[in-house]
């Protein structure tokens, strides 16, 4: 009896909401708990907390328990226990898992059931991950707060009055609220990194072409990437390694042999790397980046100092076209998004809620008008209209054409900068998480919040948001994330510096 109680206590000590992938793996290997017990634990956490947070759109209780049971059977048989075996994971409502409903946060897809697994999900299935459910997001990944979901407003688990960021706000909130061990989001212009920053999590946007988007609903195709949202940088590296790879079903993917050191960096080598600070974004007088709120400015300063004091070298670099980044980004994505949304007409892919009204319409055009107008939310409509505008024949050269030229120059700027440095440091967001409703009626104000996150996707580069120490050390205040941008396919540099930062 006594030993039984000891076991129970041990289990409880091990299975905690803030458990990392690494700790989970160790616990599972040592048989401190089973995958089924872990799944039960996190499903219970969701039941208790998600009524308030509203991170999940659907929880897959039955399937998650079955998946966990299968993992336990395999472990019993002595099969390999990988890092992700049994890991309870949450995925964004845009990353398909076969047989389940997915809506990309939009009414127009209500009732659509995925007919196949996305490549990232099938990779994680092979590793034995346990899928807890799909998480809330801004409709079609348009937004920065997860307030623009057609279904519900997700709250920041650190402060329920505030937004979790977006568009992968559900995934970040599920993770930060201790309702999952890891999560997947997608990042077009910051949708993994910014919610990670707002919720105190780590968010990695991989190099364009590193991770397959097959089975992921497209937002802006020359920008979209799937990325991990995790509790530590080490976890991000583990999850990243599991989802990368060339995929014949996504022709933008490239084979790249990432080194083993990505999850186990040699810190001596990492310390030799040089970090760049873009002078255009830096306010010399205040000694911090431009346009930041007080807390972000202070936390950025402390994070930079910490890296400097541990011996990392810093260097000023120039990104001369930084001031055009936001305009260039928004013109480009509106064009791509309006093209991608053209396929949603309410006749295919779900649209349960609006379809019955279809019957009474007379012409095909009227059906389209009805379905699209009822199926899309405000921000989607705004982007469709503006995307159509920048692509229209009279304005194409002035807007879309010019944006492509500027995008090209920005790529060259980064290439030049990376001759001198190995990674570039800047904030993830200019502010901490703001109040729900604060910016919802001012789209332009919302876009300005992406000032630091759009550069990496414009240039196709990997970038990571890492929480500064403030919240952890002081146990109060809101989280802040700092961002590291790396060279193409050099995730190991930014993940290495990140893991170094966590150790010092």
């Amino acid at each position: 009896m006594a030993s039984f109680r000891r076991d129970e206590q041990k289990k409880q000590a091990m299975l905690k909401p803030e458990i990392t992938i690494k700790e989970f793996h160790e616990g599972l290997v040592k048989k401190d708990f089973s995958a089924s017990e872990a799944a039960e634990f996190f499903l219970n956490e969701i039941k208790e907390k998600d009524g308030e947070v509203k991170a999940f759109l659907e929880v897959w209780r039955k399937e998650a328990k079955e998946e966990a049971k299968e993992v336990d059977l395999k472990i019993e048989k002595g099969e390999r226990v990988g890092y992700l075996t049994g890991i309870p994971i949450a995925i964004k409502d845009i990353i398909l898992k076969k047989g389940k409903e997915f809506t990309a946060g939009s009414k127009i897809l209500k009732g659509y059931k995925a007919e196949y697994d996305s490549t990232v999900v099938s990779k994680l299935k092979k590793e034995g991950a346990v899928f807890l459910g799909r998480t809330n997001m801004d409709e079609f990944a348009f937004g920065s707060t997860t307030e623009q979901s057609a279904w519900q407003v997700t709250r920041n688990p650190i402060d329920l009055e505030r937004v979790p960021g977006g568009t992968s706000g559900g995934s970040a909130a599920a993770l930060a609220g201790g309702m999952a061990v890891a999560a997947l989001g997608t990042d077009t212009g910051g949708s993994v990194r910014q919610p990670a920053s707002f919720c105190g999590a780590v968010g990695l946007r991989p190099t364009y072409g590193a991770v397959s988007r097959f089975g992921v609903v497209a937002a802006a195709s020359s920008f979209d990437q799937v990325g991990p949202i995790t509790k530590t940088v080490e976890d991000a590296a583990i999850l990243f390694k599991a989802i990368v790879g060339k995929d014949k079903l996504d022709s933008t993917t490239i084979f790249h042999d990432f080194s083993e050191e990505i999850t186990n960096p040699d810190f001596k080598e990492i310390k030799e790397l040089t970090i760049g600070i873009p002078e255009e974004l830096f306010d010399e007088e205040r000694g911090t980046f431009k346009g930041l709120d007080e807390r972000t400015a202070l936390e950025m300063k402390k994070a930079t100092e910490k890296l400097k004091n541990s011996g990392m070298k810093f260097k000023k670099i120039s990104l001369p076209n930084s001031e055009y980044a936001l305009s260039c980004y928004y013109i480009s994505i509106f064009a791509e998004e309006s093209s991608n949304l053209a396929r949603f007409d309410g006749l295919r892919y779900g649209a349960e809620e609006i379809r019955e009204k279809v019957f009474r319409k007379e012409t095909l055009k009227e059906i389209y008008l009805n379905n699209k107008s009822k199926g899309f939310g405000d921000e989607a409509k705004r982007r469709i209209i503006l995307g159509t505008f920048v692509l229209s024949s009279g304005f194409y050269d002035a807007y879309y054409g010019k944006a492509q030229k500027v995008r090209r120059m920005m790529r060259t700027d980064f290439e030049r900068a990376f001759y001198e440095v190995d990674a570039i440091l800047m904030p993830t967001a200019p502010t901490v998480a703001f109040k729900i409703g604060e910016k919802i009626n001012d789209p332009l104000q919302m876009y300005y919040g992406d000032i630091f996150t759009v550069a990496a996707p414009l240039a196709g580069l990997p970038a990571i948001s890492i929480p500064t120490e403030g919240l952890k050390a002081e146990k109060t205040g809101l989280p802040v994330g700092f961002q590291l941008i790396g060279k193409k396919f050099r995730e190991e540099d930014i993940l290495g510096i990140g893991q170094f930062y966590e150790k010092i």
């Binding site: 007919e115 309006s338 019957f359 503006l386 159509t388 030229k405 500027v406 120059m409 789209p443």
Partner: protein, 94 residues
């Protein structure tokens, strides 16, 4: 750049969207502000690099016959089969 309500209506028409009067007004205001912010790009230098819009696109995508990605299982979601055809939900009323 000035974008009036007629322009917004025209763009909506092109995009197969039907906007209410209230939406038209709101989107007109938003569009004008946002396009004003896009105009920032006009100040950007042209750059010497003329190679844009993926010069090599035709080289990377070869027109080859590939294995179908369909597994046959996608048919399970159809309403049924009849005479070798797949049934879909009724869209038009007679």
């Amino acid at each position: 750049m000035r974008i009036d309500k007629e322009e917004v209506k025209h763009l909506a028409e092109l995009s197969k969207l039907k906007l209410s009067e209230e939406e038209t007004e709101r989107f007109q205001k938003d569009a004008e502000e946002i396009v004003g912010f896009f105009d920032k790009l006009k100040e950007a230098p042209e750059g010497e690099d003329k190679e844009i819009l993926g010069k090599n696109a035709s080289e990377t995508i070869k027109d080859e016959e590939k294995e179908s990605i369909g597994t046959g299982e996608e048919k399970e979601q159809f309403l049924g089969k009849e005479k070798g055809y797949l049934k879909i939900p009724k869209v038009f009323e007679r």
